[in-house]
Amino acid sequence: MHAFDVLGDPVRRRILELLADGERSAGEVSTVVQNEFGISQPAVSQHLRVLRESGFTSVRPVGARRLYAVDPIPLRQVDEWLEQFRRSWEESYERLDELLEGLKQKEGKEDGS
Protein backbone atom coordinates (compact mmCIF):
# COMPACT_ATOMS: atom_id res chain seq x y z
CA MET A 1 0.00 0.00 0.00
CA HIS A 2 1.19 3.49 -0.89
CA ALA A 3 2.39 5.62 2.02
CA PHE A 4 -0.31 8.19 1.28
CA ASP A 5 -3.00 5.57 1.57
CA VAL A 6 -1.58 4.46 4.88
CA LEU A 7 -1.51 7.99 6.31
CA GLY A 8 -4.75 9.13 4.67
CA ASP A 9 -6.79 7.20 7.21
CA PRO A 10 -7.70 9.07 10.42
CA VAL A 11 -7.70 5.91 12.56
CA ARG A 12 -4.18 5.02 11.47
CA ARG A 13 -2.97 8.57 12.03
CA ARG A 14 -4.43 8.44 15.54
CA ILE A 15 -2.69 5.13 16.23
CA LEU A 16 0.62 6.65 15.13
CA GLU A 17 -0.01 9.61 17.41
CA LEU A 18 -0.61 7.32 20.35
CA LEU A 19 2.55 5.38 19.59
CA ALA A 20 4.56 8.56 19.11
CA ASP A 21 4.35 9.04 22.89
CA GLY A 22 5.97 5.67 23.40
CA GLU A 23 5.57 1.94 22.95
CA ARG A 24 2.12 0.52 23.66
CA SER A 25 0.51 -2.90 23.56
CA ALA A 26 -2.00 -3.80 20.87
CA GLY A 27 -4.61 -4.10 23.63
CA GLU A 28 -4.01 -0.56 24.94
CA VAL A 29 -4.12 0.94 21.45
CA SER A 30 -7.26 -0.99 20.66
CA THR A 31 -9.10 0.18 23.79
CA VAL A 32 -8.37 3.87 23.12
CA VAL A 33 -9.14 3.73 19.40
CA GLN A 34 -12.32 1.65 19.83
CA ASN A 35 -13.65 4.28 22.23
CA GLU A 36 -12.68 7.28 20.15
CA PHE A 37 -13.87 6.03 16.78
CA GLY A 38 -16.58 3.59 17.81
CA ILE A 39 -15.09 0.77 15.78
CA SER A 40 -14.65 -2.93 16.59
CA GLN A 41 -11.55 -4.60 17.92
CA PRO A 42 -10.99 -6.58 14.67
CA ALA A 43 -11.17 -3.28 12.74
CA VAL A 44 -8.41 -1.83 14.94
CA SER A 45 -6.36 -5.00 14.46
CA GLN A 46 -6.72 -4.56 10.70
CA HIS A 47 -5.33 -0.99 10.94
CA LEU A 48 -2.45 -2.19 13.13
CA ARG A 49 -1.69 -4.84 10.54
CA VAL A 50 -1.60 -2.22 7.73
CA LEU A 51 0.78 -0.05 9.77
CA ARG A 52 2.99 -3.04 10.56
CA GLU A 53 3.11 -4.36 7.00
CA SER A 54 3.81 -0.92 5.52
CA GLY A 55 6.73 -0.45 7.93
CA PHE A 56 5.28 2.53 9.81
CA THR A 57 5.36 0.57 13.06
CA SER A 58 7.52 -2.14 14.51
CA VAL A 59 6.25 -4.77 16.91
CA ARG A 60 7.93 -6.98 19.51
CA PRO A 61 6.38 -9.71 21.62
CA VAL A 62 6.76 -9.44 25.39
CA GLY A 63 5.23 -12.48 27.00
CA ALA A 64 1.65 -12.69 25.74
CA ARG A 65 1.61 -9.02 24.74
CA ARG A 66 2.61 -7.45 21.45
CA LEU A 67 4.20 -4.04 21.88
CA TYR A 68 3.91 -1.55 19.01
CA ALA A 69 6.25 1.38 18.34
CA VAL A 70 6.54 3.99 15.59
CA ASP A 71 9.26 3.53 13.03
CA PRO A 72 10.08 7.14 12.07
CA ILE A 73 11.93 6.34 8.84
CA PRO A 74 8.93 5.94 6.48
CA LEU A 75 7.27 8.96 8.10
CA ARG A 76 10.33 11.03 7.41
CA GLN A 77 10.41 9.84 3.80
CA VAL A 78 6.79 10.92 3.30
CA ASP A 79 7.54 14.27 4.89
CA GLU A 80 10.55 14.83 2.67
CA TRP A 81 8.55 13.97 -0.41
CA LEU A 82 5.77 16.36 0.59
CA GLU A 83 8.23 19.09 1.41
CA GLN A 84 9.76 18.78 -2.04
CA PHE A 85 6.31 18.81 -3.61
CA ARG A 86 5.31 21.87 -1.58
CA ARG A 87 8.54 23.75 -2.29
CA SER A 88 8.22 23.13 -6.00
CA TRP A 89 4.67 24.56 -6.05
CA GLU A 90 5.50 27.39 -3.68
CA GLU A 91 8.25 28.59 -5.97
CA SER A 92 6.07 28.27 -9.08
CA TYR A 93 3.33 30.30 -7.42
CA GLU A 94 5.77 32.96 -6.25
CA ARG A 95 6.97 33.31 -9.80
CA LEU A 96 3.34 33.53 -10.92
CA ASP A 97 2.79 36.33 -8.36
CA GLU A 98 5.63 38.31 -9.89
CA LEU A 99 4.40 37.70 -13.42
CA LEU A 100 0.83 38.75 -12.50
CA GLU A 101 2.12 41.88 -10.83
CA GLY A 102 3.90 42.88 -14.03
CA LEU A 103 0.90 42.05 -16.21
CA LYS A 104 -1.46 44.02 -13.94
CA GLN A 105 0.68 47.13 -14.31
CA LYS A 106 0.84 46.66 -18.07
CA GLU A 107 -2.94 46.23 -18.35
CA GLY A 108 -3.48 49.24 -16.08
CA LYS A 109 -1.40 51.40 -18.36
CA GLU A 110 -3.22 50.21 -21.46
CA ASP A 111 -6.65 50.72 -19.88
CA GLY A 112 -5.76 54.13 -18.50
CA SER A 113 -4.62 55.58 -21.82
Binding site: D5, W89, Y93, R95, L100
Partner: protein
Protein backbone atom coordinates in the same frame (compact mmCIF):
# COMPACT_ATOMS: atom_id res chain seq x y z
CA UNK B 1 4.30 46.26 2.44
CA UNK B 2 1.37 44.00 3.19
CA UNK B 3 1.89 40.95 5.36
CA UNK B 4 2.34 37.69 3.53
CA UNK B 5 -1.12 36.18 3.65
CA UNK B 6 -1.01 34.20 0.45
CA UNK B 7 0.84 31.19 1.79
CA UNK B 8 0.34 27.89 0.01
CA UNK B 9 -1.92 25.56 1.94
CA UNK B 10 -1.52 21.82 1.45
CA UNK B 11 -4.14 19.42 2.78
CA UNK B 12 -5.08 15.78 2.19
CA UNK B 13 -8.88 15.60 1.82
CA UNK B 14 -8.86 11.84 1.28
CA UNK B 15 -6.62 8.81 1.07
CA UNK B 16 -5.37 9.55 -2.42
CA UNK B 17 -5.84 13.29 -2.84
CA UNK B 18 -3.78 16.38 -2.20
CA UNK B 19 -5.37 19.81 -2.24
CA UNK B 20 -3.27 22.89 -2.94
CA UNK B 21 -4.85 26.26 -2.14
CA UNK B 22 -3.23 29.55 -3.00
CA UNK B 23 -4.49 33.12 -3.30
CA UNK B 24 -3.25 35.54 -5.95
CA UNK B 25 -3.57 39.30 -5.80
CA UNK B 26 -5.09 39.60 -9.27
CA UNK B 27 -8.56 39.28 -10.84
CA UNK B 28 -9.61 35.88 -12.08
CA UNK B 29 -9.66 36.80 -15.76
CA UNK B 30 -6.03 37.84 -15.59
CA UNK B 31 -4.98 34.71 -13.69
CA UNK B 32 -6.84 32.57 -16.21
CA UNK B 33 -5.29 34.36 -19.20
CA UNK B 34 -1.85 33.98 -17.65
CA UNK B 35 -1.92 30.31 -16.70
CA UNK B 36 -3.44 29.27 -20.04
CA UNK B 37 -0.86 31.15 -22.11
CA UNK B 38 1.91 28.79 -23.30
CA UNK B 39 4.23 31.73 -24.00
CA UNK B 40 4.07 32.81 -20.37
CA UNK B 41 4.41 29.30 -18.89
CA UNK B 42 8.25 29.28 -18.88
CA UNK B 43 8.14 32.41 -16.73
CA UNK B 44 6.48 30.69 -13.78
CA UNK B 45 6.00 26.91 -14.13
CA UNK B 46 8.52 24.97 -12.05
CA UNK B 47 10.89 25.77 -9.20
CA UNK B 48 13.33 28.66 -9.47
CA UNK B 49 16.49 27.82 -11.34
CA UNK B 50 14.70 25.57 -13.80
CA UNK B 51 13.90 26.37 -17.42
CA UNK B 52 10.82 25.11 -19.16
CA UNK B 53 10.36 24.01 -22.74
CA UNK B 54 6.72 23.82 -23.81
CA UNK B 55 6.67 21.01 -26.35
CA UNK B 56 2.91 20.76 -26.74
CA UNK B 57 0.04 22.96 -25.57
CA UNK B 58 -3.13 21.89 -27.33
CA UNK B 59 -5.55 23.63 -25.02
CA UNK B 60 -8.89 21.96 -25.79
CA UNK B 61 -10.73 18.98 -24.34
CA UNK B 62 -8.91 15.86 -25.52
CA UNK B 63 -5.82 17.89 -26.45
CA UNK B 64 -2.42 17.17 -24.96
CA UNK B 65 0.24 19.11 -23.12
CA UNK B 66 3.91 18.28 -22.76
CA UNK B 67 6.65 20.16 -20.93
CA UNK B 68 10.33 19.54 -20.41
CA UNK B 69 11.70 21.04 -17.22
CA UNK B 70 15.47 21.48 -17.16
CA UNK B 71 17.26 21.95 -13.87
CA UNK B 72 20.59 21.41 -12.18
CA UNK B 73 19.58 17.79 -11.53
CA UNK B 74 18.73 17.05 -15.14
CA UNK B 75 15.70 17.05 -17.38
CA UNK B 76 12.21 16.12 -16.28
CA UNK B 77 9.46 15.49 -18.85
CA UNK B 78 5.81 15.97 -17.89
CA UNK B 79 2.74 15.40 -19.98
CA UNK B 80 -1.02 15.06 -19.84
CA UNK B 81 -4.34 15.64 -21.49
CA UNK B 82 -7.11 18.19 -20.99
CA UNK B 83 -10.34 16.62 -19.85
CA UNK B 84 -12.47 19.63 -19.04
CA UNK B 85 -12.09 23.35 -19.69
CA UNK B 86 -14.53 25.95 -18.40
CA UNK B 87 -13.14 29.48 -18.87
CA UNK B 88 -12.30 31.26 -16.63
CA UNK B 89 -12.99 28.95 -13.72
CA UNK B 90 -12.01 25.33 -14.23
CA UNK B 91 -9.45 23.03 -15.84
CA UNK B 92 -9.30 19.28 -15.37
CA UNK B 93 -6.21 17.63 -16.78
CA UNK B 94 -4.20 14.49 -16.38
CA UNK B 95 -0.64 14.74 -15.11
CA UNK B 96 2.12 12.24 -15.79
CA UNK B 97 5.78 12.39 -14.84
CA UNK B 98 6.97 10.86 -18.09
CA UNK B 99 9.80 8.67 -16.82
CA UNK B 100 9.49 4.91 -16.22
CA UNK B 101 8.15 3.55 -13.90
CA UNK B 102 6.42 6.78 -12.81
CA UNK B 103 4.65 7.18 -16.16
CA UNK B 104 2.46 4.22 -15.30
CA UNK B 105 0.80 6.44 -12.71
CA UNK B 106 -1.69 8.98 -13.95
CA UNK B 107 -2.74 11.74 -11.59
CA UNK B 108 -5.74 13.95 -12.27
CA UNK B 109 -5.51 17.65 -11.49
CA UNK B 110 -8.73 19.58 -10.90
CA UNK B 111 -8.01 23.30 -10.93
CA UNK B 112 -10.64 25.81 -9.91
CA UNK B 113 -10.38 29.59 -9.79
CA UNK B 114 -12.65 31.71 -7.65
CA UNK B 115 -12.58 35.49 -7.33
CA UNK B 116 -13.31 37.55 -4.24
CA UNK B 117 -12.59 41.25 -3.77
CA UNK B 118 -10.41 41.31 -6.85
CA UNK B 119 -8.28 38.42 -5.61
CA UNK B 120 -8.25 34.94 -7.01
CA UNK B 121 -8.01 31.66 -5.16
CA UNK B 122 -6.55 28.83 -7.17
CA UNK B 123 -7.33 25.38 -5.83
CA UNK B 124 -5.69 22.33 -7.32
CA UNK B 125 -6.98 18.96 -6.25
CA UNK B 126 -4.47 16.31 -7.23
CA UNK B 127 -6.01 12.86 -7.35
CA UNK B 128 -3.46 10.09 -7.24
CA UNK B 129 -3.72 6.44 -7.91
CA UNK B 130 -5.39 4.19 -10.40
CA UNK B 131 -9.04 3.31 -10.48
CA UNK B 132 -8.04 -0.16 -9.27
CA UNK B 133 -6.38 1.40 -6.25
CA UNK B 134 -9.47 3.45 -5.47
CA UNK B 135 -11.77 0.47 -5.88
CA UNK B 136 -9.49 -1.54 -3.65
CA UNK B 137 -9.99 1.15 -1.07
CA UNK B 138 -13.73 1.12 -1.29
CA UNK B 139 -13.82 -2.66 -1.01
CA UNK B 140 -11.64 -2.71 2.06
CA UNK B 141 -14.10 -0.30 3.67
CA UNK B 142 -11.54 2.36 4.46
CA UNK B 143 -12.92 5.84 4.72
CA UNK B 144 -11.14 8.94 3.58
CA UNK B 145 -9.51 11.23 6.09
CA UNK B 146 -11.44 14.37 6.93
CA UNK B 147 -9.43 17.26 5.58
CA UNK B 148 -6.44 16.66 7.79
CA UNK B 149 -3.56 18.95 7.11
CA UNK B 150 -0.03 17.83 6.76
CA UNK B 151 0.70 19.83 9.88
CA UNK B 152 -0.49 16.77 11.76
CA UNK B 153 2.24 14.75 10.11
CA UNK B 154 4.78 17.34 11.08
CA UNK B 155 3.62 17.28 14.71
CA UNK B 156 3.98 13.54 14.62
CA UNK B 157 7.46 13.78 13.22
CA UNK B 158 8.45 16.31 15.84
CA UNK B 159 7.34 13.86 18.50
CA UNK B 160 9.23 10.91 17.10
CA UNK B 161 12.38 12.86 16.32
Amino acid sequence: MAAKTNALKVTTPSDTEILLTREFDAPRDLVWKTITNPELLPQWWGPRGTTLVVREFDFRVGGGWSYLSKGADGEHPFKGEYREIVAPEKIVQTFIYDVPPFNEMVAVENMTLTERDGKTTLQTLVQHGSKEARDGHLQSGMEGGAGETMDRLEELLAKTA
